[in-house]
Symmetry: C2
């Protein structure tokens, strides 16, 4: 381990710069913090540029084993005092472990539509917490690929990664346009089920075909009319209260668990 | 409307101070921003201390009708320029309407256990976004009362209110201890269904009694062994991936929608 005493060290500066989307896109890197997230990225074979630990903070034996595994894999580890670590941490109670990993993106062409519970396509998600929570549910129900359409929030945003609790690295990410997804689904003849507030079909009264694509709209706009008309089926999650919509991660998860439940009853 | 030109105006200062939990608890007030939230608080009969608008920002006719309704109800409205409004706003694109309302709390003794889909009890929720999303789902499925146990985040935190999308005002809130809830449920003989990761009973294979209390643990600790042993039934949401837990709002919502779905099939 290389001890680093200065906040102006080049690597420390990179960690801070990874809060900026522009820098993440230019560098293709992302910031990952906490034992669970670092473990998940390592287990899923993500390339670590380097690891940063603070011996003052990192207490768990399990975490030190992870650090040793990373060192054995040739990853450079730098050790900083807890004040430097806290200055870069995005948590209230930092565990003292973080890393910089190379992002992974998959192409639509590389997907086997029959891999996983279903495909999940998200149109222009705006909230980092939502994308993280959605990936977490996707992992839990066995969705392998999540397709981000249009002007989406960055799933490698540190707040998305945090909300993902490791799922950012276990679920495979694809970025494409709505038009390319349509072409692809037409070639492979995969039905698209769109979720639209107020659609007459109740999500829980539908038999979900296999394979299928579940398409969710953005937090504010949902799916527009053109997008709705491209779907093979539109479903809604019923609401009997006064509020006009559910949180996007909630709505997505409720439908995913219904699909999951139907499959496990087969 | 009273035009206010200074950021040091007493009312403007109150708006900023409402970001502090301590001040919210001392004053019993909360900050509510945006057309939907202000509308919801007004519709549900919450007492407005005052309303603040920025004529430069507030464009919607619907919103101006709301302002007039509030004025007709004797609410003092102050008008500020957009720079002052932006300095107090918690949003990226403020709509130009916010207010200060008096919090409402209900007592366990005032509850009719048969009102609503079920009772929802949350132990020590920590994340403002989670409590907001949970209230939003609770509203959607017809839960009338949400019971906050122990050291919970404040549902009147501006970030909770925002995530609640109005549900903070439509769902009735109760704050109590786990012990008092147990006494109450024993008197009324209401079964408690606890959600615990890894519990052998799948949440979707259970018939939910009516009335019942759904008890969810906190984000990090879940329910402890003593709390689990006080439950009449323990259920889990199955997970087949690598991540070890779901987001709390997601897990709560998935179970609530299962209960809702069972009731609507009766």
């Amino acid at each position: 381990m290389i001890p680093v005493k200065s906040r102006d060290n080049t690597k420390i500066k990179i960690l801070r710069k990874l809060r900026s989307r522009k820098f993440r896109e230019q560098s293709g890197l992302c910031y990952v913090e906490g034992i669970r997230q670092v473990y998940s990225a390592f287990e899923e074979g993500f390339h670590f540029e380097f690891l940063i630990v603070s011996s003052d903070l990192l207490r768990s034996e399990h975490a030190w084993k992870l650090v040793n595994d990373l060192i054995s894999n040739g990853v450079q580890v730098i050790d900083v005092d807890q004040n430097i670590f806290k200055s870069i941490s995005l948590r209230d109670n930092p565990q003292g472990i973080a890393g910089v990993v190379r992002q992974k993106w998959h192409s639509l062409e590389s997907i086997d539509p029959r891999e996983g519970l279903c495909l999940l396509a998200l149109k222009a998600v705006q909230d980092p917490g939502n994308i993280g929570s959605i990936l977490r549910t996707a992992d839990a129900v066995g969705v392998r690929y999540v397709i981000l359409l249009g002007d989406s929030v960055d799933p490698y945003d540190p707040n998305s990664v945090r909300a993902g609790a490791g799922a950012t690295f276990t679920v495979k990410l694809i970025k494409t346009s709505f038009e390319r997804l349509l072409d692809w689904k037409n070639i492979h003849q995969i039905p698209v089920i769109g979720a639209v507030g107020g659609a007459p079909l109740n999500y829980s009264r539908v038999n979900y075909p296999y394979p299928c694509i579940l398409l969710m709209g953005s937090e504010r706009q949902g799916l527009d009319l053109r997008e709705q008309s491209s779907c093979d089926m539109l479903v809604s999650v019923p609401m009997v209260g006064k509020v006009d919509s559910l949180n996007l991660a909630v709505a997505t998860s409720v439908i995913l668990y219904e699909i999951f439940d139907q499959r496990s009853r087969l």
